[in-house]
């Protein structure tokens, strides 16, 4: 877990502008024609996001490493079938990642726990509200994992990965309106779970800055 470097609050580079999208489109096109070098670049661009997503899904750094590797190998095998029809590559890649995680749990009864995530937070050098953050993270993580798969997906993609609704819509194969509704219901469900866990308004003081 020590190697799981947590960067609190830091967003991953999400290709937002057109120039970046063009570059990724070019890399995808080359990779789909067999360029290992182009796919290597795609790996560099996306490995952190995929790892983080899987880490949140599994709560286990060793699993996250294994599965991240699997995602990219599967993606390479499948990239020839991928048609870059304006859909974001990230959406496709996260679909692959989600399936890899689902397969992982199908074949192996999950015994992962959140202790690692919590410990990783504990190792962050930010002593000020350490106990508060730890408790918050612990509660949030366990609550997220009690959501339905779709709710979990939208929460992870939107708030943990930082995708915009267009990308989430492409990843989940739903219209953006449906994503907005799903996001609302997911947050409501999460809130309810947290309330059940006595996580409520009283935790606010430590987060007053936001």
């Amino acid at each position: 877990m020590l190697e799981a470097m947590a960067l609190r609050g830091a967003k991953f580079a999400v290709p937002a502008n057109e120039e970046k999208a063009d570059r990724i489109g070019d890399l995808v096109a080359r990779a789909s024609h067999g360029s290992g070098e182009a796919f290597g670049q795609l790996y560099q661009l996306y490995v952190d996001r995929i790892y983080n997503y899987i880490y949140y899904k599994t709560g286990h750094s060793v699993d996250a490493e294994d599965l991240t590797e699997q995602v990219f190998i599967k993606a390479w095998e499948a990239i020839r079938r991928f048609r870059f029809e304006g859909k974001p590559f990230a959406a496709w890649l996260f679909k692959v990642a989600r399936n890899v995680v689902i397969d992982h749990y199908r074949t192996r009864k999950s015994n992962s726990d959140l202790s690692e995530v919590i410990s990783a937070i504990a190792h962050e050098g930010d002593p000020e509200d350490f106990a508060q953050r730890r408790a918050t993270a612990q509660l949030l993580m366990s609550a997220i994992r009690r959501l339905t798969d779709e709710q979990q997906q939208v929460i992870l993609l939107k708030f943990i990965d930082g995708m915009d609704n267009t990308e989430i819509s492409a990843t989940m194969g739903k219209k953006e309106g449906a994503i907005r509704a799903l996001q609302y219901r997911a947050l409501l469900a999460l809130q309810r779970i947290l309330q059940d866990e006595r996580y409520g308004l009283e935790r606010r003081p430590a987060r007053a800055t936001s």
Partner: protein, 423 residues
């Protein structure tokens, strides 16, 4: 617009401040506050990055996997090369389907016997490319190319009289290319198995014999004959080289090393390719047209114990009949047949000589019995790997023609212009 999920989205995307949102939907105040706080909490959760070392190692493994998967794919690349004579997609699809092994048996079976004129011929060639690509060991590759050489030789033999020169040229070049691969494989293998050497020698020699026979028969088309002779010379040359390899291995050549001991003069002149040395080619052509045992092989085959008098030299002058000519030709072929065991050869020569004498003495029954013995000895020799099937078939056909002539001596019936005077 005023739906709760839309309001929440506008807050999350920064279009509205919380305050503005609550002003629009005061009834949702508590919910919106809770949910936007929650969203903030979620966004504040740590992002986990993989350990840089893992990141690097995983990348290396991924690139290695990519390289390997490309190498595996290279396997199939031959399939995707366009096949001459068939639309690109058709040959690709056929080759993939056939190599993949589905409906396949029928098609590949049908295409296996396809000749250059047939519609399935390009399919056959495409399947062959896959077979070559699938052969993994060097020895397996040698055998695969040997199979290809066999097929090309058979195709040449079956179509040579009808093919135009360009296509025959392509076919003989393909044959030469396959043979060169066989030859190169045998010569570069660190320790070629005796079975492989045997197989290559026997089969290429058989091909040479077959091509030689076709060359003899195509005297009417000099261009075709030239090509056939060239191919035959290359084949003989390859047999020669393979025999050398076998000898170096301390293994005596199988059954008969006539071609190795005494290769056609042109074979040594011609490089192991298909150039067109006019002089040597025509020299070989004339040699092929008049097959006669070379001096060294004649002495080699002369068995002091049971040397039969060569019929052609014993009774060439007066009273030579069409039947005599058949006997003489058969005797010559037996004595010149490649890869035949010494004892078998002698026995067969004795049979022919005896049959000829009996026929000349009017003893048709005895002559037929001798020829039947000749045929059954040939079959036994093939079973004992003392003669090649091709040679046996050829000699058997000639023996049967003689038997037929002996049984029904009607003039003209078997191309016999004159009857033996004894009959």
């Amino acid at each position: 617009m005023s739906e709760p999920e839309e309001i929440l989205e506008q807050v999350l995307s920064g279009e509205l401040t919380r305050q503005e949102a609550i002003e629009r939907r005061p009834d949702l105040k508590d919910t919106l506050t809770l949910l936007t706080d929650l969203a903030d909490d979620l966004q504040a959760l740590p992002r986990y990055k993989p350990d840089p070392e893992f990141r690097h190692r995983a990348r290396m493994r991924l690139l290695q996997h990519i390289q390997e998967s490309k190498r595996r794919r290279r396997w199939w690349e031959p399939v995707f090369e366009p096949i001459h004579g068939l639309p690109g997609w058709a040959s690709r699809v056929s080759a993939v389907v056939i190599a993949g092994g589905g409906l396949t048996f029928g098609v590949s079976y049908a295409s296996a016997s396809a000749l250059p004129d047939d519609r399935l011929y390009p399919v056959k060639r495409a399947v062959e490319q896959v077979q070559v690509a699938m052969a993994t060991s060097d020895e397996a590759k040698a055998i695969t190319y040997l199979d290809l050489a066999d097929r090309r030789a058979a195709e040449i033999a079956a179509t040579a009289p009808d093919l135009d020169e360009i296509r025959l040229d392509r076919l003989t070049n393909d044959y030469g290319a396959a043979l060169l691969k066989v030859s190169a494989a045998v010569q570069t293998l660190p320790d070629p198995s005796a079975a492989l050497l045997d197989k290559v020698q026997a089969r290429v020699a058989s091909q040479a014999t077959e091509l030689e026979a076709r060359a003899v028969n195509s005297a009417g088309r000099p261009a075709v004959q030239d090509k056939l002779v060239q191919a035959e010379v290359v084949a003989s040359n390859v047999v020669d080289r393979v025999s050398l390899v076998a000898e170096k291995k301390g293994k005596p050549g199988p059954r008969d090393v006539q071609l190795a001991v005494n290769p056609p003069a042109a074979a040594t002149a011609a490089a192991a390719s298909l150039p067109t040395p006019r002089a040597s080619a025509s020299a070989a052509a004339s040699a092929a047209a008049n097959p006669s045992p070379a001096p060294s092989s004649a002495t080699q085959y002369a068995n002091p114990g049971a040397a039969p008098a060569p019929p052609s030299s014993s009774a060439p002058s007066a009273g030579t009949t069409a039947l005599d000519t058949l006997f003489d030709r058969l005797w010559n072929e037996v004595s010149a047949a490649p890869f035949m065991g010494q004892r078998v050869r002698t026995q067969l020569e004795v049979d022919v000589a005896n049959a000829k004498q009996a026929a000349r003495a009017g003893k048709s029954e005895a002559a037929i019995a001798d020829m039947n013995a000749f045929v059954s000895q040939l079959q036994a020799a093939v079973t004992a790997h003392q003669a090649t099937q091709y040679t046996a078939n050829r000699l058997t056909a000639q023996a049967k023609a003689i038997i037929s002539a002996l049984q029904s001596p009607a003039p003209g019936g078997y191309g016999l212009r004159t009857l033996p005077p004894q009959r």
